[in-house]
C-alpha cells in the first residue's frame, strides 16, 4: 500500500535547506541535531526514534520532517498558565500540531485537563510527546524547539496553528490495536497518573494486587471504550512497597477500564487497521512502547511514517497508539 505522506526522514543538510527556503515544518530528531538547524518557521521535538519508509529505526544523524504547504501558520509557545488557551488561538477551520516535552509540568497539565479546554474536540489538534533515548532516561531532558529563535525548551509546549481553506478539513485519527480483555472492569476514584485503590468489578481492591493475582503483563495497557474509540493508558511501573501503579497518562474518574488483550504481530495487524486509502496525510506518529514491545525496528507499519514518540496527542493524551491526520474535503 502506498501512502501519500507529507513527512520523511532527511539528513541535516536537507533539513537546513528546507528551513532556509522558508518552508513551514515540524521536525523530530536528536536534540544535538535539532540545535544545529537554522532559525525559521518550524517547531521541533527531541526523539531519535522514527518510523521511516523502510521501517522503524533509531538514529542520531537523521531528522524526521513534516512539511506543511498550507501557508505559514502561527507558532506559539505555551507554559502552564497559557496552555488552557491552546485552542482559542487555533483557527476556526484548521489544524493544530502540538509538541510537549516528557516529564514536564505542561505535559502533566495537558494530560489531566485537555478534555476540558475551550473548543477541545471542535478544532482538530494532534501531536506528540518528545523524549530521549531510552538508555538516557533520567539523564537527558526531553525538549521542544521554537524554530523562530532556536530555543530548546524543557518546560514549555510548542504549537503550530495552521489555517485551512474553507473547502478542506483536517481529520485526526488514532489507531490502537488493543482491545479490552476479558478481565475485571476497573474504575478509579480520582483522575491521576498513579493508583492504589480502585473498584475491581465493582468491589474495592488494590490495582497492584489485582495485577499480580491475575498475572497481568505490564506491557499491556488499560483500555477504555470511548464510544468505539479505544483509549489506552500504559503502565509505567509498579511500586511494590507503596502498592502503587504508575501510568504514562492519567486514568480518569468515571471511566471504566480493562486490561488489554495481547496483540500478536503488530505490523500485520496495523496493516489491517490502517485504511487502504487514507487520503492525504498531514502528520503521523507512533508510540515508543509499540516500537519496543512490538519490536518494530526494521519493520514497516503500513506506510505510516513519523517520529516514534513518548505519548501521542489526538485531542487528549494517548498511549501505545498511532496517530495520524488527513486532509479531506469539507
Amino acid at each position: 500500500m502506498t501512502v501519500d505522506s507529507a513527512g520523511r526522514l532527511v539528513d541535516l543538510g536537507e533539513a537546513r535547506a528546507l528551513i532556509e527556503a522558508g518552508a513551514t515544518l515540524s521536525v523530530a530528531g536528536d536534540a544535538e541535531l535539532l540545535a544545529q538547524l537554522p532559525k525559521g518557521n518550524w517547531i521541533g521535538g527531541s526523539t531519535p526514534y522514527f518510523m521511516a519508509d523502510d521501517g522503524g529505526t533509531c538514529r542520531n544523524d537523521r531528522l524526521f520532517v513534516h512539511r506543511f504547504d498550507l501557508g505559514e501558520g502561527t507558532i506559539q509557545r505555551y507554559d502552564r498558565d497559557s496552555l488552557p488557551s491552546l485552542l482559542v488561538d487555533a483557527p476556526e477551520n484548521g489544524f493544530t500540531l502540538l509538541i510537549l516535552p516528557a516529564g514536564s509540568g505542561v505535559l502533566e497539565d495537558y494530560a489531566h485537563h485537555a478534555p476540558t479546554y475551550h473548543d477541545m474536540f471542535l478544532k482538530p489538534v494532534a501531536g506528540w510527546v518528545s523524549g530521549v533515548r531510552v538508555d538516557r532516561l533520567g539523564q537527558d531532558a526531553a525538549l521542544v524547539v521554537d524554530g523562530r529563535s532556536g530555543e530548546q525548551l524543557a518546560q514549555e509546549a510548542i504549537a503550530l496553528h495552521l489555517a485551512l481553506p474553507a473547502d478542506m478539513t483536517a481529520m485526526v485519527h488514532a489507531i490502537s490495536l488493543f482491545e479490552p480483555g476479558d478481565g475485571a472492569e476497573i474504575e478509579f476514584p480520582a483522575t491521576g497518573f498513579s493508583a492504589t485503590d480502585c473498584l475491581i468489578d465493582g468491589r474495592p481492591g488494590n490495582l497492584r494486587e489485582y495485577m499480580a493475582a491475575a498475572g497481568i503483563d505490564q506491557r499491556l495497557p488499560l483500555v477504555a471504550d470511548y464510544c468505539g474509540a479505544m483509549v489506552n493508558v500504559s503502565i509505567q511501573g509498579v511500586d511494590e512497597g507503596a502498592q502503587r501503579v504508575a501510568f504514562y497518562a492519567p486514568v480518569f474518574e468515571g471511566v471504566r477500564y480493562r486490561f488489554a488483550k495481547p496483540v500478536v504481530d503488530y505490523p500485520e495487524r496495523f496493516l489491517e487497521a490502517m485504511p487502504s486509502e487514507p487520503g492525504t496525510l498531514l502528520f503521523g506518529c507512533n508510540c515508543i512502547l509499540n516500537y519496543l514491545y512490538s519490536e518494530l525496528e526494521g519493520r514497516r507499519t503500513a506506510g505510516l511514517t513519523g517520529p516514534i514518540t513518548f505519548g501521542e496527542v489526538a485531542y487528549q493524551l494517548l498511549n501505545q497508539t498511532a496517530v495520524y491526520v488527513t486532509l479531506e474535503p469539507a
Binding site: R80, D81, S82, P84, S85, V88, D89, P91, E92, N93, G94, D109, H112, H113, P115, T116, H118, M120, F121, L122, P124, A163, L164, P165, A166, T169, M171, V172, H173, A174, Y226, C227, G228, A229, V231, G254, V255, A314, Y315, Q316, E328, A330
Partner: protein, 242 residues
C-alpha cells in the same frame, strides 16, 4: 493591547466586564472576543466552567462572537447588556434587538438573516424566541408576520434545533451510537459523563449547544450520525429529570 482596547470601545464593554482576549480569524472572517469579570479567562487549571458563546452584531464585515461565563449572582441589569445573551442561547441581546429593529422596519426575516449573515441554525433559534415572546419590544404584528412567512431557512438543515429532545436524550442515554469520527467519539463520551452531573437547565443547554455546534460544523461528514439522532426522539429515559 490595541485590539483589546478597540474591542472594548466598539462593543461598549463596561465594568464589571472586561475584554480579556480578541482573536481575528482571517479565513472565516470572524472575530472572537473573550470577556472576563475581574479575573483571567484562562488560568493554570480551570474547573469545567459553563461558558456561553453568543453571536453578536457584526463588526464591519466580520461575524462577531462573544465568549463569557455568566455568574449565578449577576444582576438582571448587568445580565441584559447588549454584548451578552441568555446563558443557553447562542445570540446576544444586541443581535436580537437589531433583528427585531429590522423586522419592525419592514424587512422580511429572510432578508434580515441574509443581511446579517445569520445561518439557518441561529435563524431558527431567534425566530423561536420571537414567536415565544421571550424577546423584548417585539410588536404584535411582527410576530404575526413572522408566523405567516414561509419557514424557508429553517428547513434546509437536517440537524434538529437545540430544544429538540433528541439532544437531551442522547446525552443522558448510554445507548450506543455508530460514530466514525474520533473527535465526536471523545466529545460524546465526555458530554455523557458530565451531563448527568450538571445542575440546572442552563448548564444542560450549554452542553447541548456544544455538541450541537459540532454537528453543525461537520454536518456534511455526519450524515449517518445525524440520521441516528432520530432514534433518541422517543427515548424518554433522559427526560425525567429535566
Amino acid at each position: 493591547m490595541r485590539d483589546v482596547e478597540m474591542c472594548r470601545h466598539l462593543l461598549g464593554v463596561k465594568a464589571p466586564w472586561d475584554v480579556s482576549q480578541v482573536r481575528m480569524d482571517v479565513q472565516s472572517r470572524q472575530i472572537h472576543v473573550y470577556l472576563t469579570m475581574g479575573r483571567s479567562w484562562f488560568g493554570r487549571y480551570l474547573p469545567d466552567q459553563t461558558r456561553s458563546r453568543w453571536r453578536h452584531t457584526n463588526l464591519g464585515s466580520c461575524q462577531t462572537f462573544i465568549h463569557a461565563t455568566l455568574p449565578d449572582d449577576i444582576s438582571d441589569q448587568d445580565r441584559k447588556v447588549a454584548f451578552l445573551g441568555e446563558s443557553g442561547n447562542e445570540f446576544s441581546h444586541g443581535l436580537a434587538s437589531r433583528v427585531v429593529d429590522c423586522l419592525q422596519a419592514g424587512m422580511s426575516y429572510r432578508q434580515v438573516c441574509e443581511l446579517m449573515g445569520i445561518d439557518v441554525h441561529l435563524a431558527w433559534q431567534i425566530r423561536l424566541a420571537i414567536s415565544e415572546g421571550t424577546l423584548p419590544g417585539v410588536a404584535a404584528d411582527v410576530s404575526q408576520r413572522l408566523k405567516a412567512e414561509a419557514p424557508g431557512v429553517a428547513r434546509v438543515t437536517q440537524i434538529p434545533p437545540g430544544n429538540d429532545p433528541v439532544w437531551h436524550n442522547m446525552l443522558s442515554s448510554e445507548r450506543p451510537m455508530e460514530v466514525r469520527m474520533l473527535s465526536l467519539r471523545l466529545l460524546l463520551t465526555r458530554c455523557r459523563q458530565e451531563f448527568g452531573q450538571l445542575r440546572g437547565e442552563d448548564a444542560r443547554r450549554l452542553k447541548i449547544n456544544e455538541i450541537r455546534r459540532f454537528f453543525i460544523k461537520h454536518e456534511k461528514q455526519l450524515a449517518a450520525e445525524i440520521e441516528q439522532l432520530a432514534r433518541f426522539r422517543d427515548d424518554a429515559s433522559g427526560r425525567a429529570e429535566s
